[in-house]
């Protein structure tokens, strides 16, 4: 740990990469929340694949290896891909899953066609398919980090401006329409930013893993809160942490690529949240079920005790514990728990009676 902070302070390259992956994590966590809540979780997967033909096209048209030109190309084909998914779902009977699969595979296939075609021309250098497929965080430059931070800023500003509208649209699109909110515009706006985040992430974590960067922080954050604002903040923090921690871990070994490690860290966050989140988490849900079971058992027991006492009228004032123990499902343990709940009281050491509260509860159960 100490070593890590030392590295953070001393090593310039590491600082740049850590900052870049943190910013990327924050952006994708924030925008990914929208994708997850709008049930477009796998849009990221489709878009990241759909970016390939754009990159190659930009390379062909401008003969440039300048990464901004390639990014612009990726952005264009990414947006086109997401519009196509939308158009196919809206205007035909094909469902979202198939539309995503079509765009993903056809765009990527077309990109491959272009790429292999270009690579066979003598003057074309390798456009670096590897780097694009699997990402190389090590190639992050100061300028890339600056770009990431600017995009993060703009995305934040847009969130602030359209906060109310976005919130309504996410939870009830029809209601948003009746309020006169231009959902089409917001939809396109959010989609463009999601595409932008994906395109920026390709360089760092690669095609296959970018969708996980988008999903995992949001899926983890969703478990901790039902509040949109809090969810966005938690998702951004988890995304940023995954970036920094992943970068740090991969820096400890020479051959460890950064992208997969970041994804594994992010998914660990998800698993942790699935298990330990309060109220929604698996463990707390199990505990609640256990507690409910126990409560139910006690309620049943108090009802049994009550009806026994009522049926033997002389016992209303109090009954010997030994007689209760002969009843079904009642043992020392249950009596002790009932006493702890203050549903029964001891008149003397061997005679028990119902308390006011215990009588109330038992009567309610009798009514049912």
């Amino acid at each position: 740990m100490l070593e890590f902070f030392e590295l953070l302070l001393s090593d310039y390259t590491f600082r740049i990469i850590a900052l870049g992956t943190a910013a990327l994590g924050a952006i994708s966590g924030m925008l990914g929340s929208f994708a997850v809540l709008r049930k477009q979780s796998l849009l990221g997967d489709a878009i990241s694949h759909a970016a390939l033909p754009g990159i190659v096209m930009a390379f062909i048209l401008f003969q440039a290896k300048d990464s901004y030109v390639l990014l612009a190309g990726a952005l264009c084909s990414g947006v086109l891909g997401s519009l196509l998914v939308n158009g196919i779902v809206r205007k035909s009977k094909i469902k979202t899953d198939a539309a995503l699969g079509i765009v993903l595979s056809v765009f990527f296939g077309f990109g491959m066609l272009l790429l292999t075609y270009v690579q066979k021309k003598p003057d074309a250098a390798q456009a670096g398919l590897d780097k694009y497929l699997f990402g190389q965080a090590a190639t992050l430059m100061l300028n890339d980090v600056k770009l990431l931070i600017v995009v993060l800023g703009i995305a934040l500003a847009i969130l602030f401006i359209f906060w109310k509208e976005l919130k309504v649209m996410i939870f009830d699109e029809d209601y948003a329409l009746t309020l006169g909110i231009n959902t089409r515009f917001l939809d396109v706006l959010i989609t463009i930013f999601i595409v932008l985040a994906i395109v920026l992430g390709l360089q760092t974590v690669g095609v296959v893993l970018m969708s996980a960067m988008l999903l995992a922080p949001a899926a983890a954050a969703r478990q901790w809160t039902n509040n949109l604002g809090k969810m966005l903040i938690i998702a951004s923090v988890i995304g940023a942490c995954s970036g920094v921690v992943g970068t740090a871990i991969s820096a400890t070994q020479p051959n460890l690529s950064t992208g997969p490690v970041i994804v594994i860290v992010a998914i660990t966050f998800v698993l942790f949240s699935f298990l330990f989140a309060p109220t929604r988490g698996i463990i707390s849900r199990q505990l609640k079920i256990q507690k409910n079971k126990k409560e139910l058992l006690l309620k049943k027991s108090i009802a049994v005790v009550y009806s026994f006492m009522v049926n033997n009228e002389e016992l209303v004032e109090g009954v010997e514990k030994n007689k209760l123990l002969k009843l079904r499902d009642i043992d020392e343990q249950v009596i002790k728990l009932l006493y702890e709940k203050k549903w029964i009281k001891y008149i003397d050491s061997q005679i028990v009676a119902l308390t006011e509260e215990g009588r109330d509860i038992a009567e309610k159960i009798e009514l049912i």
Partner: protein
């Protein structure tokens, strides 16, 4: 054509057919992206298999890949059962996790392993004929023909045996359970077949083309028909078209065969999407425009119908339509023409009157509006309108 060329096309055709069959059911069950998930996560199986055997050609690699494919499906379903996230999110979490582990395993053991990641994802059909099957020194043709051929046969046999069950469980889970078919067994069989197909095919054509060959033909066929039998045939035909067309496109451009097969599939899909007769983009546009016109016609007729016989002469003026409905001249003219072509109105001078047929039509339309039976309106239109909007 040289022998390898023919062999490549045969392999491409077999892969296309083998993928198309399970693909149809994946698309119908809205589980298309399971194929994407499996095709990525099996990388882990291959890496593990390689660690055990240290041999890239060992069949254990394929077995491990199939196992990891099954694990992917099970994991996705486990996450879905917790109901903590939506179905597609579960898919999106599982395969990147498995894929990441595989990439990390490869990277940390870079010295002893020469797995080419690109070829796993992208594949190259052009090399498939060189990987041959030898039994006792005799050349029995490319290996891919045998592996994919048996997978294709398996798919076809299972399809023929369980056609009824597959059909019912795909369209009505409740009914199939009531009839005594277990949707769970069919579901897992389908998942296993898909998994085996992906594992068998990715070696030849790469992970991404597997997704294309499974989903795109089926989705294209789905645009054209709702009949399961026709859909299966059509998607096989589209798969074959992409195999042959893709091969020659790649040949002309000297580019990746799997890439051009996917491209051909994309073109076939786009054309179908635009011009499909019942559900295509253009057909829908035409339908929409016609409906708009007919709604206008209806409001116009109802308006005239509501006018008293003696008074309201001003309202019957043709010119008044511009003012009353805020129509421009062209709009008014098309609606008037449509109405008079159908014999619903008659012009006396510049005054509009309903004919008997027009009155009847308006009355049945009012009936419809009062009772609000949606299915009736189309019938009314069919009875009264010779010329549609």
């Amino acid at each position: 054509m040289s022998v390898p060329q023919i062999e490549i096309q045969i392999i491409a055709c077999i892969v296309a057919v083998a993928c198309a069959i399970p693909g149809v059911f994946l698309v119908l069950r809205r589980m298309s992206l399971i194929s994407d998930a499996i095709s990525h996560s099996i990388l882990l199986g291959i890496v593990i298999g390689f660690f055990i055997t240290q041999d890239l050609n060992s069949p254990l690699l394929i077995i491990m890949a199939g196992l990891v494919g099954a694990v992917t499906v099970v994991l996705v379903e486990m996450i879905q059962k917790t109901k903590l996230v939506k179905e597609d999110t579960a898919i999106g979490l599982v395969f990147p996790a498995l894929f990441s582990i595989a990439v990390i395993l490869i990277a940390t053991n870079a010295n002893d392993i020469h797995l080419d990641l690109d070829s796993v994802l992208v594949g190259e059909l052009a090399f498939a004929p060189f990987n041959r099957m030898y039994i006792g020194g005799v050349d029995y043709g490319p290996k891919a023909v045998w592996t994919m051929g048996s997978i294709m046969l398996l798919s076809i046999i299972l399809l023929l045996l369980f056609y009824k069950e597959l059909k019912i469980t795909s369209f009505d889970v409740g009914l199939s359970t009531a009839l005594g078919f277990s949707p769970v067994i069919i579901h897992y069989s389908l998942m296993s077949v898909s998994s085996i197909t992906v594992v068998g095919a990715f070696d030849a054509v790469g992970a991404i083309l597997v997704v294309a060959l499974m989903i795109v033909p089926a989705a294209t066929a789905y645009l054209l028909t709702s009949d399961l039998r026709k859909m299966l045939w059509l998607s096989i035909v589209f798969g074959l078209m992409s195999a042959i067309g893709g091969y020659w496109l790649a040949n002309i451009l000297d580019a990746s065969i799997s890439g051009s097969m996917a491209t051909v599939l994309g073109v076939i899909f786009m054309i179908t999407y635009l011009v499909a007769p019942a559900n295509g983009y253009i057909a829908n546009l035409v339908k929409e425009r016609r409906q708009k016109k007919e709604v206008k016609l209806l409001t116009f007729l109802l308006h005239i119908h509501s006018l008293d016989d003696n008074n309201d002469e001003g309202e019957r003026e043709v010119d008044h339509l511009y003012y009353h409905f805020k129509w421009n001249e062209k709009e008014a003219k098309t609606i008037l023409n449509l109405a008079s072509d159908n014999g619903l109105i008659i012009l006396k001078g510049s005054l509009i009157y309903l004919t008997d047929k027009g009155t009847k039509f308006s009355e049945s339309a009012i009936d419809y509006i009062v009772t609000n039976r949606e299915d009736k309106l189309e019938g009314i239109k069919r009875d009264f309108l010779l010329f549609r909007g």
